[in-house]
Symmetry: C2
Subunit: 411 residues, 2 copies
């Protein structure tokens, strides 16, 4: 039966990438991989298991349900829930994880703290919280001016433990100056409140993008998402991170080869009109699968989307995507490729290459698709079959006790 | 535990929409709902069951696996697989459906026909095929010039039954002239080969978009996708279809309300900069969920994306989405809304309204999001909880025998 496409996931590459990040941040800095949205769709269980075995110290997710799912995989590391939690009860599936101290929550504002405080007090356990400061992103967190009061309240409450203080950069993949301005605000806050902050409190702000600028943003923990997946957020900037291995490869096949006369129009709204007699191929992958759909003017002004052409898994060359991407089909221009090779419906195509620098690697695909690497990875539809290479390591570097200890307190 | 968002699906509306289509095409025309990609993510079982009970005559899917899944739901209607099938074997999960005549395949070219012919001959059963003509879309199908030979081969083969001839329009939601040109080519082919075509052969070309122009495109069967979901492909054009009921509603909540001073920047890359002191809200929904991410220049030149603000499910007003949509969050400008109402984290928001004409209905969301209604619906992430209203009708209008009869032959 025809398979539309498949995604190959290289688990050892995830472990390798964690090692690359470790090299940059050193042994004294915690690494907190971000594994929200089913580890960007790569599979929470296998990705988190690989990262835990590879020496991750903590995990970050966005929503409570994701933390519950992560606990259920057998994960033994602390888990940080990034969103402002507004609903809590004793029958909450997250409750056991909060009670054991494995699940940490983020405090974004006063009403958020009110809820967490009264909940922890009522059920009489120590809840680990991280205070989020808004240093310029204006998407969650509190103003630095309100931060000191919140810290004091957390320190005064016997049921709360200030496990971390964090912020998030708005422009770390595009603008170093903006990132530095945010960093300065964050540093100023930490300095001004040094007396209130225990030495075991994790200070974290960097993601993969800011680590690109070097390790000055690392502090005591870094939250890396794109990094473990082997992607650099902005390949056009000088990067301190090198040697990441792409984790994903997405392939499909050609299901039809056709001739189209010069001047005919191809696809929805006839967006593409070849200026020579052409050969096109139909690939059974479209936007529902997560293939990007750049606007027409972007397509015309930028390097086009291309796919690799494969024969027995050997790369023959590349072919540009032409015309509008449909729901479950796209069209490629095979005219040049056909001059050199015999292209038929037996050919496979590579939509996303796992070779860095290829014209269809994650960065090129994102750029040509008018989107970002995060969006490419996380929007690959769950219906696409995942083929896993390597195994989730069984034994972990640290024992469960060690991890809980390291996560809840600090180096 | 906080839920990020939910989608309400109105099953009776699907039945109603089928009735609207029936009114337009009349009783002598078959209706073939397109239910590919898990019925655009709404759930194949429930959608197909509702459509079958509502009087659908056939279903179209894109891939063999979708046909197999549809057979497994208990569907008794014929199922048309649109893609060119290139792999067939006796252990194929699709084989039983092909053998009973429930699953029909599309012939796109000679090599495609070679495979189907030899397969049906080898296993000695009658395979129902539809010939697809390329009349200008250039995405699958054969040139009309090659069509007559293919028909003759099909008619000459005792194991093949020409159950249909079809084409697909490239511009039916944007350009009537182009659609008419394709229709003329299709008609010319049918006329020229009238002697070869049995009266039971289904002639089909129209989708919901072309029915918008009136019923002249209907022929003996129409393939409707957007129509059953209650959406019009292009609301700016005069439409022959009225009275469709939107099937989907997508809601979430506000998880934080914050003040942002004039001149501060909001979100990734600081794309939005308010020219007054503002109040913003954070909604825990982002592009991974399927919320559109229009390019910045599109955002600035078009009506903005808006969400509805709800209190006890009553609409208080609307708020524009500001700044870049993140992976799992978006930001709305509540400044105007706060002047009139008290907006807090208890407010729910409506991302996609089920009220036609609302500024966040499917068409408006698609237009403001620089995408199409199909893409909005089909890309809603499976992780979002679906809440079903109404039940899949149990008894069907026609008996299984009637359906098989009507599907395999014709009126």
């Amino acid at each position: 039966m025809d398979e539309l496409s498949r995604i190959d996931i290289d688990l050892p590459a995830i472990g390798h990438n964690l090692g690359v990040i470790r090299q940059i941040v050193g042994d004294d800095c915690r690494i907190c991989p971000v594994v929200k949205s089913d580890a960007y769709g790569l599979g929470l269980h296998r990705v988190a298991g690989t990262l835990e075995a590879g020496g991750a110290d903590m995990f970050a997710v966005y929503a409570p349900a994701e933390a519950v799912e992560l606990v259920a995989t057998g994960c033994r590391l602390p888990i940080l829930v990034l969103m402002p939690v507004r609903e809590l009860s004793m029958v909450d599936p997250m409750y056991p994880g909060l009670r054991t101290g494995q699940v940490h929550l983020v405090v974004h504002d006063v009403s958020n703290l009110d809820l967490l405080e009264s909940f922890a007090m009522e059920f009489d356990f120590l809840l680990h919280v991280h205070l989020k400061l808004d240093t310029g992103m204006h998407r969650g967190g509190c103003d630095p001016g309100d931060g000191a009061d919140l810290i004091e309240r957390i320190m005064d409450c016997p049921s709360l433990h200030l496990a971390g203080i964090c912020t998030h950069f708005s422009s770390s993949s595009t603008c170093r100056e903006t990132t530095d301005r945010q960093m300065d605000r964050f540093d100023a806050f930490i300095d001004a409140n040094a007396d209130l902050i225990d030495s075991d409190c994790l200070i974290h702000c960097a993601t993969t993008a800011s680590l690109n600028f070097g390790d000055r943003y690392a502090r005591s923990m870094v939250r890396v998402g794109l990094g473990w997946s082997g992607s650099s957020p902005n390949p056009t900037m000088d990067s301190a991170i090198s040697g990441l291995s792409p984790v994903l490869r997405w392939t499909s096949r050609i299901v039809q080869v056709r001739h189209v006369a010069r001047g005919e129009r191809v696809g929805y709204d006839g967006d593409w009109c070849p200026d020579r007699d052409s050969t096109i191929g139909i690939v059974p992958v479209g936007y529902v699968d997560g293939y990007p759909t750049p606007p027409r003017d972007h397509q015309q002004s930028c390097t086009p989307l291309v796919v690799g052409l494969l024969w027995n898994d050997q790369l023959l060359g590349h072919a540009p995507v032409v015309g509008k991407v449909s729901m479950d089909q796209l069209t490629i221009d095979l005219t040049d490729a056909c001059e050199v090779n015999s292209i038929s419906t037996n050919c496979r195509v590579e939509l996303l290459s796992n070779v860095q620098g290829a014209p269809n690697d994650i960065q090129s695909l994102a750029m040509a698709g008018a989107t970002k690497p995060h969006a490419i990875i996380s929007r690959l539809h769950p219906r696409i079959r995942r083929v896993i290479h390597g195994e989730v390591p069984q034994g972990n570097v640290l024992s469960a006790g060690d991890h809980a200890q390291r996560g809840a307190s600090a180096v």
